[in-house]
């Protein structure tokens, strides 16, 4: 007797439908799983047998063959356990196959028959399509985000068996847990002084421009960077779904429901290439750059990251996605993050002040760690310093994040009218159309080019930043000389942010 159960497996951040075909026939008792299962998937044999016996159901002493179709796609994880178990029961005619018709099944099994949640429940449920889906109770909240009333939460195999055989109704979904208190995002008003860096944050948030903060330790770079998220608008519904899917696939803890605020990811500088861009032995799991999609990727101590790791960020910085090849195939993950990086001006950290103890050679080596093409993609390079105590005392109260976020939202609305999510995405003819240069502005750009301050890429980037600056100002159509001057001064050359130039 043959039974076919619908389920799904995770490839990258996307769920792919899988048909679990179970064949039970007379012959020498045995249990084989075919169809490119990975180790944890093949172990389903042992879990399923134990779970069925623990649930006081009958384990057929027959020859059982499980095929996971399509056969050429590698399956991973234990998320197919429940589907296999139900398939065995259906093929052994303990459950009427009709009851399982068009039903998706997702869940791991414990040896006691309990049904456990699966990583990446959101994309998996999404992949099953328009059908009722059986999931672990603890996955029901996530599953309901996409499957709504089609979700059938179960706690254990026995419950599912009884519901299928009509002996009991489907269990009610567990009551929604009390909403977890979300820690409020850090607010800009905690920071005194630092007008330049604050404004750079505002421009970065408004236009989606990548930002590098350079300054000595204790200047507040990390504090500033953490406040960028608070300036960003809520995620759009599509973004929200995508971010939740990626986080679900990456096995990160999810809030109760969709993620609606832009994520903030701050990988440590010792992070490996695989941790950052995504990886794994056979298939690539989403890495930090993908977890930060639609949000902020914060790289503290940029100079300490391995140069190869940083150069791997070039593709996502340019294209908003990352392609990772692994032995079993190539995966593309979204990686449309806003990069904020922080670094010291020199190894000793005092660069730019007279207390710097770094030898000129050490300084040059430190700055060489960042490749030119990488730095070229950072639109805003801003020097941050410890504020002068005298200025702190008579500084006016700081502007709050909410106030800045309003201006950011207005600027983003302008960008959407131009057909892009953020000004940083403006390219080619769209850029020329929406960010025309006044005659004087053209002169400013030309002289910057002549002085060698800008590359061709840098030129376009400066133009987009100037567009954002004008949007934040009065939203006029044409870019004035002052917009470009301001954009240029937010793009300091790295060597001029560091220690003094020796001559």
């Amino acid at each position: 007797m043959l039974a076919t159960i619908r389920s799904a497996t995770l490839v990258g951040v996307w769920g792919h439908p899988v048909s679990v075909e179970v064949h039970v026939a007379d012959g020498l008792p045995g249990f084989t799983v075919v169809g490119l299962p990975d180790a944890s998937c093949r172990e389903a044999r042992d879990r399923v047998r134990a779970a069925i016996i623990s649930s006081k159901l009958k384990w057929p002493p027959k020859r059982i063959t499980v095929n996971l179709a399509p056969n050429d796609m590698p399956k991973s994880g234990a998320g197919l356990d429940l589907a296999v178990a139900v398939g065995v029961l259906a093929a052994d005619e303990q459950v009427a196959p009709a009851a399982l018709k068009n039903m998706g099944v997702l869940g791991q099994l414990g040896l006691d028959g309990s049904v456990r949640p699966v990583p990446g429940a959101l994309p998996l449920v999404d992949a099953i399509g328009d059908a009722p889906v059986v999931v672990a109770s603890r996955d029901s909240a996530v599953a309901e985000l996409v499957a709504r009333e089609r979700v059938r939460p179960v706690n254990n195999l026995k419950e599912m068996f009884e519901a299928l055989s009509g002996a009991a109704p489907w269990p009610e979904p567990p009551p929604a847990p009390a909403p977890r208190r979300v820690a409020p995002e850090p607010d800009l008003c905690d920071i005194a002084g630092q007008p330049l860096a604050r404004w750079a944050l505002e421009v970065a948030a408004a236009g989606g421009h990548h930002l590098l903060l350079v300054g000595p330790p204790g200047a507040g770079k990390t504090m500033l960077a953490r406040r960028l998220v608070g300036l960003l608008p809520d995620l759009t519904p599509q973004e929200s779904l995508e971010v939740t899917r990626v986080h679900s696939a990456a096995g990160l803890s999810l809030p109760d429901g969709l993620i609606t605020r832009p994520p903030f990811r701050a990988p440590h500088h010792s992070s490996s290439m695989a941790a950052l861009v995504g990886g794994g032995t056979h298939m690539a799991r989403p890495g930090e750059v993908s977890a930060a999609t639609s949000g902020v990727l914060f790289l503290d101590e940029l100079g300490e990251f391995a140069p190869s790791v940083l150069d791997a960020l070039r593709q996502p910085l340019e294209e908003g996605r990352i392609r990772v090849a692994r032995s079993r195939g190539m995966i593309e993950h979204p990686a449309r993050f806003l990069l904020v990086a922080a670094m010291n001006p020199c190894p000793c950290g005092a660069g730019g002040t007279v207390g710097c103890r770094c030898a000129p050679a050490a300084l040059a080596r430190y700055q060489r760690r960042l490749s030119g093409p990488f730095v070229d993609r950072l639109d805003l390079v801003v020097r941050v310093d410890r504020p002068d105590p005298a200025d702190l005392l008579d500084a006016r109260p700081s502007v709050s994040s909410a106030e800045v976020a309003e201006r950011v939202a207005a600027a983003r609305a302008e960008a959407r009218k131009r057909g892009v999510a953020r000004n940083a995405d403006l390219q080619g003819s769209a850029l020329e159309q929406h960010a025309p240069l006044s005659a004087e502005a053209t002169r400013v750009l030309r002289s910057a080019l002549d002085e060698g301050r800008l590359s061709a890429r840098g030129l376009r980037r400066v133009q987009t930043v100037a567009r954002t600056i004008r949007d934040l100002d009065d939203g006029g159509r044409e870019l004035r000389a002052q917009d470009l001057l301001a954009a240029l001064s937010l793009r300091m050359r790295l060597d001029s942010t560091g220690s003094m130039i020796h001559g």
Partner: protein
């Protein structure tokens, strides 16, 4: 063979015939070899070389027969082993390739100031011409990590003093030292003397190779260190004493409270050489040392005229002082101030003028400038950028200052 080659490079002052020339060359090579012996301190070498021919000392070293009052028996033994293995031909070729001459107190071209010094230099490696000890000399020294203002003051002093016929002596280091030399070379007037801490074949800092060559071409490059000596930290204080011994006055342009320049000042005080200092802003950490010197009674240098007066090349009455930017030229921000005072001022908008006034206090960070100007960030950035383009404002690492 090597000696014959070297003879062309290491001429005696007036070689009357070939024998004398080759003997002079041999003396140079032997002196160079002596300088490279282990633990060959300047004091020890001075005892040996003050009245004796380096070739004679060398043959004693090879034979292990050095006088016991100069070298103890253990060291004499060590020197004997080193001297025996020394390849003098290779050394001669090395000197010839560098076009370097080696002098000892007995050589007629050894600077007398370094023979009579309280801490004499018995062996000197030289590229370029013999320094003219009759010309007045001013040492211009300062921190390697100077501000752009300090650098331009050093350049100006260097070129003005050179134009007035003063030999500019400096250490060819980064920052103030190098700037003073570049200024003096630009004036293309009087000779310059550079005293370096490493061997003449070890250019340090490496980026200053062109400056080394220019100084050797237009004047004198001196070193006490044997060929191959790396720029180790202890060599620089020793270098500083030579710098001071060669100068009639020491001008400190910018210096931190502690550091190499302050060591140079100490050496100058030990020798009774006049020390002068350029005043700086109290907000400039690189001027803390110079301001300290001023508070301790050093004469201030507000223009090159002040140095000329100290050298007795001018009298206080005859020079225009620092106010009007006359012959010597005013040092510091005066030209910019003059420009903003009249012609420039009309084209500046009120914010730009306000920024310049705020910068009169000295360099500040851009953040502080924004806070003090109490204007929106983009406006201040644009005004600062415009001022920079007009050459009225400069950036220096974290700071902005008046150009």
């Amino acid at each position: 063979m090597a000696e014959a080659q070297a003879a062309q490079r290491v001429p005696a002052p007036a070689p009357s015939h070939a024998v004398e020339a080759s003997e002079a060359a041999a003396r140079g090579v032997h002196a160079a070899a002596l300088a490279a012996l282990p633990r060959a301190s300047s004091g020890r070498l001075a005892k040996l070389l003050n009245h004796r021919d380096p070739s004679e000392v060398w043959s004693q070293a090879v034979a292990g027969e050095l006088p016991g009052w100069a070298v103890d028996p253990d060291l004499a033994d060590l020197w004997r082993i080193h001297a025996r293995d020394r390849d003098l031909d290779a050394l001669a070729e090395q000197l010839a390739a560098l076009d370097a001459w080696v002098t000892t107190p007995l050589s007629p071209d050894h600077p007398p100031a370094l023979i009579d010094d309280i801490d004499p230099a018995p062996i000197l490696f030289r590229r370029g011409r013999v320094p003219d000890d009759s010309a007045p000399a001013a040492a211009i020294v300062g921190t390697r990590r100077c501000t752009p203002t300090g650098r331009s003051v050093a350049m100006e002093l260097g070129s003005d003093l050179a134009a007035a016929g003063v030999t500019v002596v400096s250490g060819l280091a980064l920052g103030i030292d190098g700037a003073a030399h570049r200024g003096a070379l630009a004036a293309a007037a009087a000779a310059v003397v550079g005293v370096v801490g490493s061997g003449l074949d070890r250019v340090y800092p490496r980026g200053n190779r062109d400056l080394w060559d220019e100084v050797a071409a237009a004047g004198t490059l001196l070193s006490e260190a044997p060929l191959g000596a790396e720029p180790e930290g202890w060599r620089f204080p020793a270098r500083n004493r030579l710098l001071v011994a060669l100068a009639d006055v020491v001008v400190v342009v910018e210096s931190k409270r502690a550091g190499g320049s302050m060591h140079t000042v100490e050496e100058a005080v030990r020798r009774g050489v006049v020390v002068m200092a350029v005043p700086g802003s109290v907000r400039n950490p690189a001027a803390q040392g110079t301001n300290l010197l001023l508070s301790e009674g050093c004469p201030p240098v507000c223009s090159s005229d002040d140095v000329l007066v100290a050298l007795d090349l001018a009298t206080a009455g005859t020079v225009g002082g620092s106010a009007g930017g006359t012959a010597g030229g005013a040092v510091g921000g005066e030209p910019a101030a003059a420009q903003t005072g009249d012609a420039g001022a009309r084209s500046l908008d009120p914010l730009q003028k306000r920024l310049l006034r705020l910068l009169d206090d000295g360099p500040v960070s851009l953040d502080a400038l924004v806070l003090r100007a109490a204007s929106p960030v983009p406006e201040v950035l644009v005004a600062a950028e415009a001022l920079e383009r007009l050459g009225l404002l400069a950036r220096d690492g974290a700071l902005v200052l008046r150009a």
